[in-house]
């Protein structure tokens, strides 16, 4: 007993020592949570949940972690994932009203359905295998049909058009994936407090899914320690972006709706998740009102900023940060408790209007043509109003240009004719070399791989509109390749338009170590926008058709082979001789028929000598026949009688 106790004490000492080492080296697993709220110009509210989980590069714990989800670290270790992003999205991001030129939109505006990309740290030959295994693992992990991305017809290997330049990158998306709570629950399981405590407790399913847009994203990247012994660390970033419509009671239509956390989510925050390092709520106000407030005297600014003639916050912010065009109010939820839950609210007093910063060009994509044979895909890029104000122009060669990368994937049954690519700049057709700086095309192979096109356009800054069109033929699928609901049509995944010279960042001039959310905002992120998913109606067979085809084919075959065999096999002359020699020993029924026909025609029957007496035979037969007829008629009459009687 004593020895056991001693050993236990020893173990405790050793463990505390180890922990001390770990703390001492400042390499602990960290988890932080944050919530950013932002009123949008079209009377909606954006809520952006941000969770970051860092596992430092260390081998002290072996394969064990304190906070970091084991499933993810196993995934990283097994498939040697260098970087990966998975997003589940429902609804469309409204680039005009919700912004297109801030880190929030460029990172969280995702295409409808599931999008997955990953960079692997394996030899080139094994990348595809790793990707396939990864899709299956993620499929199980997130209760989604990500495993459909395994097929080589559904993913592509972008080289430079997508973003990260790597030849070990794979990209795939499933536009038709329905996103629902079954995908959110496993995502929440990765958080140390799940949705039981802290900010994530706000995620009331009905209110999250009632929103106009929601996108849950999981981004993980490995951090190389540089030392062989330590291995690599993992940073797991999980975000959930929802756009909600607050309930309005105001009669005035131009008044922004007032809201609070409890009115948006139906829940309140009662305290932070105890395992977090930091737990903050931010409120970002941008646009016109920021500019107005700049004139206010600094003395009263702190107070005036959150309680003024225009709006009022229900809680006093801890601090207020300022960026060029927006204000950020920071709240700490540490102070909240069960008795006094954290419930930030925003009340508007005056009608106000502002607009979001937009990407230099607004992209939309649509299908052209009619009929089941041919068509064209067109991408329309339109200059937005905010274009003039934008920085990041490339002033090479003395004139100002905007660079735009376009990356799109075509499923194999959309047979794109790449030579038909036409580019119209400001409604003037241009030769390709004028604006098209770089193009990379990998054509599709029927039933094997999907096609991919990467384009880099260099447009003059004063451009008003650019139209790109490319023609395609619709392919035919084999009957078992049609998905369920084939009559709806087939999806072409979103194209990605990114602007390599434009980077969105929000710099709040704040020491960044505290908040991973703000530091992620400060990082220059590529401005990108996804276009719409397209629906191509393909020719669909009538799925009962195989039955009809089989029936008619069999009939034709039977008729054809029957007559062919007759022609080949029967020798008319032989038969005649045989008939003669047999003296027309035909069957009784045939004879009877011939008699009847002869009688009808009024000709005498060709008499033949028969061993049997024909009269007797015919009488026997006819009596049999009459009996049969009477039987059938009787049965029919009886059936008719009984059926009508009921």
């Amino acid at each position: 007993m004593a020895s056991l106790l001693r050993s236990l004490i020893l173990l405790l000492i050793v463990q505390s020592f180890l922990v001390a080492i770990a703390f001492g080296s400042n390499e602990v697993e960290e988890f932080s949570e944050a919530l950013l709220l932002k009123p949008l110009p079209d009377r909606k509210v954006l809520a952006h949940f941000h969770f970051e989980n860092r596992a430092p590069p260390s081998n002290s714990h072996g394969r064990h972690h304190h906070l970091f989800p084991k499933a993810i670290s196993q995934l990283v270790q097994k498939f040697r994932v260098k970087e990966m992003e998975l997003s589940f999205t429902q609804g469309r991001w409204n680039h005009e009203h919700w912004g297109g030129f801030d880190p929030l939109s460029s990172m969280n505006a995702k295409p409808v359905g599931v999008e997955l990309w990953a960079v692997f740290d394996v030899p080139q030959s094994q990348v595809d295998t790793s990707w396939k295994n990864l899709t299956h693992a993620l499929s199980g992990l997130f209760c989604a049909s990500i495993n459909f991305l395994e097929s080589s017809t559904s993913y592509a290997a972008p080289t430079w058009g997508f973003g990260p330049n790597s030849n070990k990158l794979r990209y795939g998306s499933l536009p038709r994936e329905a996103v629902c709570t079954e995908n959110l629950t496993p995502w929440l399981k990765l958080l140390p407090c799940r949705d039981k405590d802290g900010i994530s407790a706000l995620m009331n399913r009905p209110s999250v899914y009632r929103g106009f847009y929601h996108s849950q994203r999981l981004h993980l990247s490995t951090v190389e320690s540089g030392q062989e012994v330590l291995g690599s660390g993992i940073v797991l970033e999980q975000t959930l972006t929802v756009v909600l419509q607050p309930e309005t009671t105001s009669v005035e239509s131009n008044m922004q709706p007032s809201w609070s956390l409890s009115s948006l989510f139906g829940r309140k925050v009662v305290g932070r998740c105890v395992l977090t390092k930091s737990s903050n709520v931010y409120l970002q106000l941008e646009g016109l009102l920021g500019h107005e407030l700049k004139n206010v005297d600094t003395e009263i600014e702190a107070h005036e900023l959150w309680k003024n003639a225009e709006f009022e916050l229900s809680l006093k912010p801890e601090r207020v940060l300022r960026e060029s065009s927006s204000f950020l109010f920071i709240f700490d939820i540490d102070k909240s408790s069960d008795s006094e839950p954290f419930d930030i609210g925003l009340t508007w007093k005056l009608p106000s209007k502002w607009s979001c910063q937009q990407a230099p060009l607004h992209a939309s994509r649509f299908l052209m043509g009619s009929g089941n044979e041919r068509g064209a895909i067109a991408i329309l890029l339109k200059a937005t109003e905010s274009q003039e104000k934008l920085s990041g122009r490339d002033l090479t060669n003395g004139h100002c240009t905007i660079k735009a990368n376009i990356f799109q994937i075509f499923p194999w049954y959309i047979k794109v004719y790449y030579h038909t690519l036409q580019i119209f700049v400001d409604q003037q057709q241009t030769t390709d070399s004028e604006v098209l700086k770089k193009i990379n095309v990998s054509p599709s192979t029927d039933k094997v791989s999907s096609g991919m096109m990467e384009m880099m356009l260099e447009l003059p800054c004063e451009v008003k509109s650019v139209a790109i069109s490319i023609e395609y033929d619709k392919g035919f699928l084999h009957i078992d390749e049609y998905p369920p609901d084939a009559n709806q049509g087939f999806d072409i995944p979103s194209a990605l338009i990114s602007f390599p010279n434009h980077h969105a960042s929000l710099d709040f001039q704040e020491e960044l170590s505290k908040s991973p959310l703000l530091s992620s905002f400060k990082e220059n992120s590529l401005v990108r926008s996804y276009t719409e998913v397209l629906l191509v109606p393909l020719t669909t067979p009538d799925f009962s058709m195989p039955y009809n085809v089989i029936t008619i084919t069999c009939t034709i075959f039977a008729l054809y082979f029957g007559s062919l065999l007759n022609v080949l096999r029967r020798r008319i002359g032989e038969e005649e001789r045989f008939l003669k020699s047999q003296g027309k020993k035909t069957g009784g029924l045939k004879q009877l028929l011939s008699r009847i026909t002869a009688k009808i025609r009024g000709r005498p029957i060709e008499e033949q000598s028969s061993s049997e007496s024909p009269a007797a035979q015919s009488s026997v037969l006819s009596s049999k026949l009459i009996f049969k007829i009477i039987l059938v008629a009787g049965a029919a009459a009886a059936w008719q009688y009984f059926s009508t009687d009921k």
Binding site: A378, Q488, E532, L535, T540, T644
Partner: protein, 699 residues
């Protein structure tokens, strides 16, 4: 034909004295039919006509085929507030137009402002009213071959307004289109009510959460007709020209790069309000026929009909030929069928095919109209423009029972109209796939009764069945006649005696083809010509061409006295074969045209025979036959038939202007790319000419 030949050979063999081998039963049946072709052709033709008359009896009740539609299962969410929004728009437009007389796009801007206040994305589109120009190559071409005219004048152009409501959680892949044609300059009070209905609905749809498809509301500028603005908008939607258009510079309203789109269209509804209802209830007329007899999916009509009748209490009707309602012969048929139905019912209570004579009359009148509209191949409304892009669309024409200025009634009318549309949109919104479950080939006998392709094919099949039989029997006869004359039976049977006749038939078909193309060249003739002059030009050119053919190619003329001209029996046989092929081909393209064409062409072809022998023989039977064939050939002439049908439809015969009217009618046919025009020119006219040749054959 080959089978018949072989049988003949066999029969010949049997005549030689070898033992008689019976041919196969199917061959025997064929021989039997051919041998008795006169009786069978009469029987089959009569049966075909009878089957056509029986069609109203065989009509089935419509049913919702696609379960996902679930019409009327959700409670309407449309409130009084929405309806008063609609009333407000109508009032504002009325006031605005009273105050601002004249041109401009101010009304469009007002509607655009209403739309954007409701939360829709608004876009304006300018279009040019395109003239009807005949181009022979435009038949069957897809709409993308549309080319912009170079010299666009700013004097006349229209402006469409379109508003798009994005489905809150939708993926934007699909959309539903609502169209309200409205004449912004001189639209009547009734017309603006359609704006009120759709605006009430739009106000509701901008706040509902159940939308999964985007909703587009197009206010089409119907200054230049209903069809053109919708077609122009669809062209811009589906196949825009990215090149700069002169039209854009025309006005202060800048529409460049403003056009907005919303995914693949699932369905489209055109809403029109016009005139006052004659009945006690509000009347809803459904128009569905698109170009070349294409119909929208029956489910769309079913949903609208179901909701209108069972939820909103409209009186629903489809177009019918009114003059047929009072025709006595149809009444007699109806009574006979009713009596037969009653008799059958007494024999077996389960036999319920009889319908009252009044229903029969209604059904036949509707069926006739349905057949006529499909056969004409001209769309019956702006919905026809959608069919070119494989979008199912119908036009709903609502006639209220109140005068347009009654405010209280108007509110109720908006409420009901918008609820009907809401229900329909909700049903289409439920649909995951595009319409494909129900029928595309059908004829309507009432809004809730239809005849599917499987049933109405029978009438046509019976009607054309005698043609191959008669062709075969005539060929045999002709060959026999030749055999007798040349005393060389074996050679003659195998020889290509039909080749001469086929040459003639081919030449006349070629002539028909040229005549079909002639109007294009006549249109190119410089100077302004009245339709009458143009038709005279056409007539003279065609007949001179015909004469040239007869004169230049020997043996073709029916009036030539050459003895070795083609045998008329063989000629008729080949003619009938050509007519049969033409009719069968047409039945695939446009069934209704083929049906009506067969009614006309089959008796003419069957009856045609030389008059001379008949006159010579002076027997009553042959004289009667000759007279019949003469009458039929006269009626069969397209212009004659056109005049007769005009007269039957109640419009008086107008002597001299007939040619002009016929020309205008044909012009409308080719403007709408109707295959009926091709049928008349390339099947009917040559066959009619051939019948004429047979009629005046010298034999």
């Amino acid at each position: 034909m080959a089978a018949v030949n072989r049988d003949n050979v066999e029969e010949v063999k049997t005549d030689d004295g070898s033992p008689k081998i019976k041919p196969r039963p199917i061959v025997r049946l064929g021989i039997f039919l051919i041998a008795h072709s006169p009786i069978f052709s009469v029987v089959f033709s009569a049966a075909g006509v009878l089957a056509l008359l029986l069609l109203p009896l065989l009509a089935k009740n419509t049913y919702i085929s696609e379960n996902a539609l679930m019409p009327g299962s959700a409670r309407s969410m449309l409130s009084n507030q929405d309806a008063s929004d609609g009333s407000k728009l109508v009032k504002d437009i009325k006031n605005f137009r009273l105050n601002h007389e004249g041109q401009g796009v101010e009304v469009q801007k007002l509607i655009g402002k209403y739309m954007s206040d409701m939360g829709a994305e608004v876009s304006f589109q300018k279009f040019h009213p395109e003239g009807n120009q005949f181009h022979p190559l435009h038949f069957f071409s897809s709409p993308d071959s549309y080319a912009l005219e170079e010299n666009v004048s700013c004097a006349s152009y229209g402006v469409n307004v379109a508003g798009i409501i994005r489905a809150p959680r939708g993926d934007g892949k699909e959309s539903i289109v609502l169209v309200t044609p409205y004449d912004f300059i001189n639209g009547g009070d009734y017309e603006s009510l359609s704006l009120g209905i759709v605006s009430s609905l739009f106000s509701l749809l901008s706040r509902v959460t159940w939308l999964s498809k985007d909703i587009i509301w197009l206010v089409a500028d119907s200054r230049y007709g209903d069809y053109r603005p919708v077609a122009a908008w669809l062209t811009e939607y589906h196949s825009p020209s990215f090149k700069v258009s002169d039209l854009l510079k025309c006005d202060e309203l800048n529409t460049a790069d403003n056009f907005r789109r919303a995914g693949t269209m699932a369905a489209a509804l055109v809403v029109k309000v016009d005139g006052r209802s004659e009945r006690f209830e509000d009347t809803l007329s459904i128009y569905a026929e698109a170009s070349n007899g294409q119909m929208p999916n029956l489910d769309l009509i079913n949903v609208v009909n179901y909701l209108a009748v069972h939820r909103q209490g409209f009186y629903v009707k489809v177009e019918k030929v009114v003059s047929l309602l009072s025709s006595s012969w149809l009444q007699i048929f109806g009574e006979i069928f009713e009596a037969v139905g009653k008799l059958a019912h007494t024999l077996n209570p389960d036999w319920n095919f009889g319908i009252p004579a009044a229903d029969y009359l209604e059904g036949s009148a509707t069926l006739a109209s349905s057949l006529y509209s499909q056969a004409l191949g001209i769309p019956t409304g702006p919905h026809g423009a959608f069919r070119d892009y494989q979008v199912d669309a119908i036009t709903l024409k609502i006639s209220p029972r109140f005068p347009p200025d009654s405010k209280t009634r108007q509110h109720d009318f908006f409420l009901r109209g918008a609820r009907l549309l809401e229900g329909t949109i909700r049903s289409v919104n439920n649909l995951l796939e595009k319409f494909h479950q129900s029928f595309f080939l059908y004829l309507l006998t009432s809004p809730s009764k239809f005849i599917s392709v499987g049933v109405y094919m029978i009438a046509f099949a019976l009607l054309v069945a005698p043609l191959p039989m008669v062709a075969a029997s005539l060929y045999i006869d002709g060959c026999k006649a030749l055999t007798n004359s040349t005393h060389n039976p074996a050679e003659n049977l195998k020889s290509w005696k039909w080749l001469d006749a086929a040459k003639q038939v081919f030449a006349l078909h070629l002539l028909g083809f040229i005549v079909t193309l002639l109007p294009y060249f006549i249109c190119q003739v410089p100077g302004q010509h009245s339709p009458r002059n143009r038709s005279i030009m056409w007539g003279t050119t065609s007949s001179s061409l015909l004469l040239i053919t007869f004169v230049t190619i020997p043996g073709f003329s029916p009036f030539s006295s050459r003895l070795h001209g083609t045998n008329w029996a063989v000629l008729k046989s080949v003619t009938i074969a050509a007519a049969f092929i033409g009719l069968c081909l047409m039945s695939i393209i446009n069934f209704a045209t083929a049906e009506i064409g067969a009614l006309l062409l089959v008796p003419t072809c069957l009856m045609a025979q030389p008059i001379k022998p008949a006159l010579r023989s002076r027997r009553v039977k042959s004289l009667l036959g000759a007279f019949c064939s003469l009458v039929l050939v006269t009626i069969g002439f397209p212009v004659m038939f056109f005049a007769l049908s005009k007269g039957l439809l109640g419009e008086g015969l107008v002597g001299l202007s007939l040619g002009g009217e016929f020309w205008t009618w044909l012009e409308s046919l080719w403007a709408w790319k109707s295959a009926t025009y091709l049928y008349i020119g390339m099947v009917h006219l040559p066959c009619w000419l051939l019948c004429l040749c047979i009629l005046f054959h010298p034999s």
